[in-house]
């Protein structure tokens, strides 16, 4: 796969809106064409080449393009925005909206990411080796159809609002999380391998949540039904099975009420 290497040569004064750093925007372009793509610093338009040294031509299609950001992109927003295929590797950290509205392809960040990583994600794969801030795989403000597909894996800790309004796909946080996991969830799977402070599954209608650490404050709307053995992310666990949120509306299927499932590692 042809590799386009973007090496940061200057840091912006404000955060930079980099809608152009995605295989979709780069596909079919040569080195100079890529350097001429537009990036925004507030209301000022710059060339991508003003902030990155570009080496290598892109592939013919997004699927044949691998973008490597070789350095710190912690002030660069919207990397992988709306991407449909191909690959992005960030050798460093990335700013907000990494893989936002993404439909396909793969993103790998070796550092940390800021908030709104994988917002409104529909497909593809995101892997972050470090920590994530808030709103991992969440819905855009006011949209009741949040993440709908794909896999989002955060190796470190994450903040609040993980998978708000999740409809499908999988979010895995290997560290701890703060509050609000799968709030308003209507499907999908969220796995938190560490501890969560509370508000897990609030206003949840459907879907699955796995917490393999402890929940400090359990919501009163969840009721324990049994203890089961189950494999989570390739490992077997003994889990307490709760259903809820009993305070929320729930649809019926074949005469049975459909509830959200919360699995917490058994003591």
């Amino acid at each position: 796969m042809p590799i386009v290497k973007l090496t940061p040569i200057a840091q912006p004064e404000l955060c930079l809106d980099c809608y152009a750093i995605s295989p979709d925007a780069l596909a079919g372009l040569t080195e100079s064409g890529i350097a001429d793509l537009e990036v925004w610093e507030g209301k000022v338009r710059w060339r991508l080449g003003d902030f990155f040294e570009v080496s290598g031509d892109a592939g013919r299609t997004p699927d044949e393009t691998h973008v490597v950001v070789d350095g710190d992109a912690s002030r660069m927003k919207y990397i992988g925005y709306k991407m449909t295929g191909g690959m992005i590797t960030v050798n460093g950290s990335a700013d907000m909206y990494l893989g936002g509205w993404m439909k396909g392809g793969k993103i790998h960040v070796t550092g940390d990411v800021d908030s709104f990583c994988g917002i409104q994600m529909e497909g593809g794969e995101i892997m972050v080796d470090g920590r994530a801030q808030n709103h991992v795989g969440c819905a855009y403000r006011g949209d009741w159809r949040g993440m709908r597909g794909g896999t989002l894996r955060i190796r470190g800790d994450a903040g609040n609002d993980i998978g708000t309004f999740i409809n499908g796909g999988t979010i895995i946080v290997e560290g701890n999380a703060f509050i609000h996991v799968s709030t308003h969830g209507e499907g999908g799977t969220v796995i938190i391998k560490g501890d969560v402070q509370g508000r897990v599954g609030g206003q949840m209608v459907k879907g699955d949540i796995f917490v393999l650490g402890a929940i400090q404050h359990m919501l009163p709307g969840f009721k324990k039904v049994d203890t089961i053995e189950k494999e989570v992310d390739g490992q077997p666990y003994r889990l307490d099975h709760y259903v809820g949120d009993l305070g929320e509306r729930h649809p019926s299927s074949r005469g049975q009420q459909v509830l959200g499932n919360l699995y917490v590692r058994a003591a």
């Binding site: 004064e13 404000l14 955060c15 925004w40 610093e41 507030g42 209301k43 000022v44 927003k77 907000m96 909206y97 908030s115 709104f116 808030n134 709103h135 855009y140 403000r141 006011g142 009741w144 609040n160 309004f165 509050i179 609000h180 709030t183 308003h184 509370g198 508000r199 609030g202 206003q203 404050h217 919501l219 009163p220 709307g221 009721k223 949120d245 009993l246 305070g247 929320e248």
Partner: protein, 457 residues
Amino acid sequence: MPVTHTQVGCPYCGASCDDLEVVVSDDGKEILEVRNACAIGNEIFHHATKPGRVTRPRLRQEDGTHKEISYDEAVDYAAKVMIEAKKPLIYGFGSTNCEAMAAIGRVAEKGGAVLDNCASICHGPSFLAIFDNGYPSCTLGEVKNRADVVLFWGCNPMHAHPRHASRYSVFPRGFFTRRGHKNRFVICIDPRETDTAKISNLHLMVNQGHDYDLFNAFRTALRGHEIPEEVAGVPREQILEGVDAMKKARFISIFYGMGLCHTDGRNHNVDIAISLTRDLNAITKATIMAMRGHYNIAGPGQVWSWSYGFPYCIDLSKGSVAHMNPGDTSSIDLAMRNDCDAFFNIGTDAGAHFPIEAVKKLRKHPWITIDPNICMASEIADLHIPVAVVGVEEGGVVYRMDNVPIQFKKVIEPPEGVISDEELFNRIYMRMCELTETEPVWIHHPALDVAKAVTEE
């Protein structure tokens, strides 16, 4: 002979009382008496004519002092800052009229600015919850005439909205509530025993920051499920007593404040309150209302939603596309992330209200304060432009906390030469057009001509 102005609006809190009477001296320069207002509203009127008002713009000099300059020079300075900045941030508008909010829109569009209002550090989370979950609300008149169960959650109107309880929510006698407070069951949910808690029939002392859990318990109990013995520090019996009172109610009004919006979870606390209101509507009639802080802080939400589709945190830096996402385009986040390079503080005091770290970061860039009074934001500003006090020296449209528009009156003239917010913003806009050699765009509506002709007659 002194003149008495009646039905005057009060430029203090979100209750926007419009029944004030103001007695003005013969020469129209001094306010002698203010009737019906609370202590704070009263003070705002008297404050306007006290000595020590700043009447000309003040520009900071190299030695750190402020020097008086003309309005023309101030307008030129502000226009240049707006043009030169890559991402200017315009924040405030809690205490001005809707005419000014519309006028600043033209400046913001021209300058590619981020337009934000005090909701950003106040009821902004309410907007997010309303986007997500709707807003089953009503007017304060309906509360007065119908509500027999009133719930105050994370708010303390006895101090923050002094006449709220007497005008709308607890004491007044309404059409279906003829016995006043005897007709009403008041529930207060607050970690402290506030003065609002003291006038309540039931006070649930929730653990600070655990409102979401308590709402969840309310909703679970309302659907007939069992709840734990204690939730968020509140015993089960008390929760069930509250649920029972709500089930028996004919009309429930839930009022909430910063206790929900600015503890952990923020918009989700409001969101689940809205869900509870929706649940209650399956049994009886229930409504919810945000206890908006300033007399016209609902105004920018109305004006800008109409102009841009968003009530706050509006990033106009990409020209014709408005982008909103609090967390990214909100004032505090822009400041903390060093993501703006000029700051306009209008009709508020960001110097006092923002976290000190945010103030320090904003202060690295040009800071312009537009406010009638001396405040922290005016004293640390590079440029302070004084304007007329809306509601006292300038009339205009304001939106009350229930989003009812009210025409506020002018009772006295502003000090000699001091202009209104609207005129100032229009002059900044015109100057920006001159400097960029572009034609100003005024949205013209024939109805405005008719309205103007009628007013002039």
